[in-house]
């Protein structure tokens, strides 16, 4: 599948100008509130007509203002999961799910039971939306969009209105969705943990412009994008494979190119491909192999790049090359000076196992 987008739209003093193409898999539209993300997905869905647009999916043109083409939303075959679920309050869950399927009018029958099982909503079918929890509503909304047989699924911050526990309840379903259905997904988010866990490709949006497009690993490793990805959560993402469980101590061991990383026990099968995000602020640097430390993970590497967090800030961001993997560390300027950190210098990165919690780990998919 290929989704190609070229949009320009001015509204209320804000100019959105975005041009990018989506690869198969899950593409995250990442950016802060007000970056233009929702405007962009509304334009893709056809709920908003931009001043200038060319949008095509698999060669099928949905909008081309130059040639007067503007396919109405109900003919675009684009599923949309809204932040606020938007279930029809007068219909049962079952009828909400069947609503889109009724209008899809396709020969191939979609397996209602399969979608219901995939999302774990079988026991909700007779209920009305008003009686559902936020997480349940969102799962039903996802099912309703899927059953309308879309060629593309848009998800506009589907987890933003949920608390932490509900987020954790839904994330595994989203991973299954991405991995089991061959359906391209455009996922809007301003939360790095979600993006790390779900995205194959990231489109970084800021002030209505596309700042960068690339894989999660590439984008999170770039120091110049730190101001956009959010300094507090900033950190490099490594690809890892689950190789061992340590039952006695309740730990799991992940293999990365940088070395083995111990994390709190994961309920996943051995061999599972995972992503692990190591926040820069959780990394400590040492010049010699540390002994007598509680940190279980010690990764050797060399300094590749140093950059002050901002002009005159007391911290510096340090990019390390650990056997081809990137690890980012945030240390004080004072420490950097005492250790005499400079590109090419061998160092050891120490990471506490307990810093690598559920929010840092996710299935990698394909």
């Amino acid at each position: 599948m290929s989704l190609e987008i070229d949009i320009a739209h001015d509204y209320g003093g804000f100019a959105l100008q975005a041009q990018f193409a989506c690869a198969p898999g899950l593409t995250a539209l990442f950016g802060r509130s007000g970056a233009g993300k929702t405007t962009l997905v509304n334009a893709i869905a056809g709920l908003l007509t931009p001043q200038r647009a060319r949008i095509s999916i698999n060669g099928r043109v949905l909008a081309d203002t130059g040639n007067g083409i503007n396919v109405p939303p109900h003919q675009r075959r684009i599923g949309y999961v809204f932040q606020d679920a938007r279930l029809f309050p007068h219909l049962t869950v079952r009828n909400n799910l069947l609503y889109g399927r009724f209008f899809a009018r396709r020969d191939d029958d979609i397996d209602f039971g399969h979608i219901v099982d995939l999302l774990g909503i079988a026991q909700l079918l007779q209920r009305r939306p008003a009686t559902l929890s936020g997480g349940e509503k969102q799962r039903v909304a996802i099912g309703r969009a899927l059953l309308s047989r879309p060629e593309l699924l848009l998800m506009d911050e589907p987890l933003a209105s949920l608390d932490g526990a509900r987020k954790d309840e839904i994330l595994p379903y989203l991973e299954r969705l991405r991995d089991e259905l061959r359906l391209p997904i455009v996922y809007v988010s301003h939360a790095i943990p979600e993006v790390t866990r779900l995205a194959d490709t990231v489109v970084l949006l800021s002030d209505g412009r596309v700042q960068a497009v690339g894989s999660v690993e590439d984008l999170t490793a770039r120091l110049d994008l730190f101001p956009l990805t959010g300094r507090y959560e900033a950190g490099a993402v490594l690809n890892a494979t689950l190789v061992r469980h340590d039952e006695a101590w309740g730990l799991s061991v992940l293999q990365t190119r940088a070395g083995d990383v111990m994390v709190p026990r994961l309920e996943r099968a051995l061999g599972t491909a995972l992503r692990i995000r190591i926040r820069a602020r959780d990394v400590t640097l040492a010049l010699t192999p540390p002994t007598g430390t509680s940190a279980l993970n010690i990764l050797p590497g060399t300094v590749a790049e140093l950059q002050p967090s901002s002009e005159g800030a007391p911290q510096v961001e340090v990019r390390l090359d650990c056997h081809g993997d990137t690890v980012l560390a945030r240390v004080t300027r004072l420490s950097a000076d005492r250790l005499d950190l400079q590109p090419g210098k061998p160092v050891y990165a120490m990471i506490k196992t307990v810093a690598l919690d559920g929010g840092s780990l996710g299935g990698r998919g394909r």
């Binding site: 869905a45 056809g46 309050p89 899809a104």
Partner: protein, 229 residues
């Protein structure tokens, strides 16, 4: 006391017929106008809004007289409609038309308010699920406005059932053809010894109104439960 004369029975049945036809006949137009006012912007919207509300403000006699001028045998619309066999003047159909016009503002107001309360984002969701806007209207907007539609129907019916001024001006007070409950009561109060009959019809009209209100409350509660879950 409770045995009705044929004349009284006729008036009651005629009133029910006139009010029912007036309400059901104006309902599709009411829904259309309410939707236009609730969801669309177009030139002359304020004018349409004012026109719909006019019968609520001007004296009923004036409305009846205007109807007579327009739909009378020699009126511009009346003479044209007479050619295709539709006659309003001095017929029960004319009474129904007068009642429909008088009840229309109440019908439109109630439906419009409930349509405005329907979240347009739900309609947008319907469109992304592949439903044509007309089908979104039928499957989302209309069912969610049902409490307002029911309220409008009841108000309009009640207004039609009690309509006097416009009816008597437009189609007069002909027993068996245009003599509805209110005009019959009025007639009985004008003849010596008609007090008992007037009182009897008054009690009956109160009873019918009470049943209508109870029924509408019941329906409104059920539909609200359905809509709000």
């Amino acid at each position: 006391m409770l045995s009705l004369t044929p004349e009284e029975t006729t008036a009651i049945l005629l009133s029910l017929k006139v009010a029912s036809v007036a309400t059901l006949g104006s309902l599709p137009f009411g829904v259309l106008i309410a939707w236009l006012l609730a969801r669309k912007t177009f030139p002359g919207k304020a004018l349409l809004d004012a026109l719909v509300h006019l019968p609520l403000i001007i004296p009923p006699v004036v409305t009846g007289y205007l109807l007579l001028l327009l739909f009378g045998k020699r009126g511009p619309l009346g003479s044209w409609l007479a050619e295709i066999g539709i006659v309003f003047a001095f017929r029960w159909t004319g009474a129904a038309l007068a009642c429909a016009v008088m009840g229309f503002p109440l019908l439109v107001r109630a439906i419009r308010l409930s349509m405005e309360a329907v979240d347009p984002r739900l309609e947008a969701a319907g469109r992304t699920l592949g439903a044509h806007p007309a089908l979104v209207f039928l499957t989302v907007t209309l069912p969610l406005s049902l409490p307002g539609i029911l309220a409008g129907v009841v108000l309009s019916f009640a207004r039609a059932f009690g309509e006097f001024g416009a009816t008597v001006t437009f189609v007069s007070n002909i027993p068996g053809e245009t003599q509805t409950l209110p005009t019959a009561i009025y007639t009985f109060t004008q003849v010596p010894g008609g007090d008992a009959q007037a009182l009897r019809l008054t009690l009956i009209s109160i009873a019918i109104a009470a049943v209508a209100i109870l029924l509408s409350e019941l329906l409104a509660r059920r539909s609200a439960r359905r809509v709000l879950g």
